[in-house]
Amino acid sequence: MSKVMVVTSGKGGVGKTTSSASLGAALAQAGQNVVLVDFDVGLRNLDLVMGAERRVVFDLVNVVQGDAKLPQALIRDKRVETLYLLPASQTRDKDALTEEGVGRVIAELRERFDWIVCDSPAGIEKGAQLAMRFADIAVVVTNPEVSSVRDSDRIIGMLDSKTLRAETGERLEKHLLLTRYDAARATKGEMMKVEDILEILAIPLLGIVAESPDVLTASNVGSPVTLHNPASAAARSYTDAARRLMGESVAINTPAEKRGLMSRLFGRKAAAA
């Protein structure tokens, strides 16, 4: 059965697009049929992160408005053949999307794909609401900062009230993905602790992705980190998160614990030298 998954956060710059691309790619690498849908109309980025910016002809707005057929707008990834992208329009604004139109496109995508990953725009306005509207699963991307946590809380409240599932009384699965987790700052106590964030947001943890240059490098070359550098810690975090989404039980590593061990080792070396 197909699943519609919204990747959302409220706050901008926390890693929604990167996480959408990486989770989507990881799911596709595991053999699932995946489409990434960019809902950030007017500020599209997902095509860049996926390295498909020079292949965009038609976009989500064209399909929603009936100017193009869905197969015309879908871009197939060159690296993973079960991964597709439905780009956003850069020249339109979010008012170009209608609930009825988005619902129609999502229903059509459900027939073809196992996973429909909706990359939400920042904010709580129409664009973000349409991105979450038809979701079965929500991945709430949060940085370990108070502002991000509060915005995520706000978004969780909206997921519980403004989605179709919430309105019909069905359960909407919500997962927390902690990104840009800085192990060095965490050990110094400069960042919110994982347990405090979990206590405040009260939703299950899907994974913790450490702040890492690998992620930025991958984004800049137009490739999700799970494809560009599968051995990196960030890629492994996303791959594990994708496996958890598929129902596998995989233990969650807090980067701080690992880094703590590393620094202890380095500390000893330094002392010995």
Binding site: D153, R154, G157
Partner: protein, 244 residues
């Protein structure tokens, strides 16, 4: 200057239907407004976007019609969302830019004749309310109240199983019971008045209020932070005490 502000009259706010607040300016006005500005400043965003009803009865009585306009201008200059006026004859505001403000909130007709009657009645007494439906006098919410959500239950107590997030608010006619952390705002006693209380398992609130009194987090400091606390009215002041 400092002495003057200390001696400034405390501006009391009376809870109203939903979240409208009633402000009743008093003479001397300069002092009242300076005290009000201090409160606005100290209460962070409490007044932002909050509907305000101005009770201008005292203003009209002591200062006459001219004072009414000066006070309205003063309130407007503070960017308050004035949604209504009380205690003045609608005729007085006719032809001014405040003409369209409702003067008959709660169905009370505020003409000069009824104004006299109203004034005679004890001001603080809640107007007789329709009898609440029997059996339903409390509201139970068995999930967290998220940031941006507002729970308003005028008819009685509110019980929440879960946390009240930063940026969320709970407003109750009676008491508020929170089996979790209170990180947002809780305002109790909209109807029950000073007998209402707020209970929470973990106090990390932005603001608590009972009846007409409120306190922001900076008033209670670190000692109570994170503890299990009750908030109550005690001889005209808000008192917070820890259970453990």
């Amino acid at each position: 200057m400092a002495v003057e502000t200390l001696a400034a009259p405390h501006v009391t706010l009376r809870g109203r239907t939903f979240m409208a607040l009633v402000v009743a300016p008093e003479f001397p006005m300069a002092e009242w407004f300076s005290a009000f500005d201090q409160q606005m400043h100290g209460a962070g965003g409490f007044f932002i976007d909050r509907p305000i009803v101005a009770d201008l009865g005292a203003t009209l009585e002591e200062g006459g019609p001219d004072a009414v306009f000066i006070v309205l201008e003063g309130l407007e200059a503070r960017q308050l969302r004035l949604i209504g006026v009380e205690g003045v004859d609608p005729v007085l505001l006719a032809g001014t830019r405040w003409e369209r403000l409702p003067k008959t909130l709660h169905g009370r007709v505020q003409t000069l004749e009824t104004w006299a009657d109203l004034h005679a009645a004890p001001h603080d007494e809640p107007s007789p309310e329709p009898v609440a439906a029997p059996g339903v006098s409390s509201l139970l919410i068995d999930r967290p109240v998220r940031s941006g959500q507002s729970i308003v239950f005028e008819d009685g107590d509110v019980t929440i199983i879960g946390a009240v997030a930063s940026g969320a608010e709970v407003i109750a006619g009676g008491s508020i019971h929170i089996y979790g952390a209170l990180r947002g705002r809780a305002i109790a006693g909209l109807r029950a008045g000073d007998s209402a209380r707020i209970f929470c398992r973990k106090l990390e609130a932005e603001l608590v209020g009972v009846d007409r009194l409120y306190r922001t987090a900076e008033h209670w400091g670190e000692a109570l932070h994170g503890r299990s606390v009750q908030v109550m009215c005690d001889r005209g002041a808000l008192r917070l005490s820890a259970f453990d």
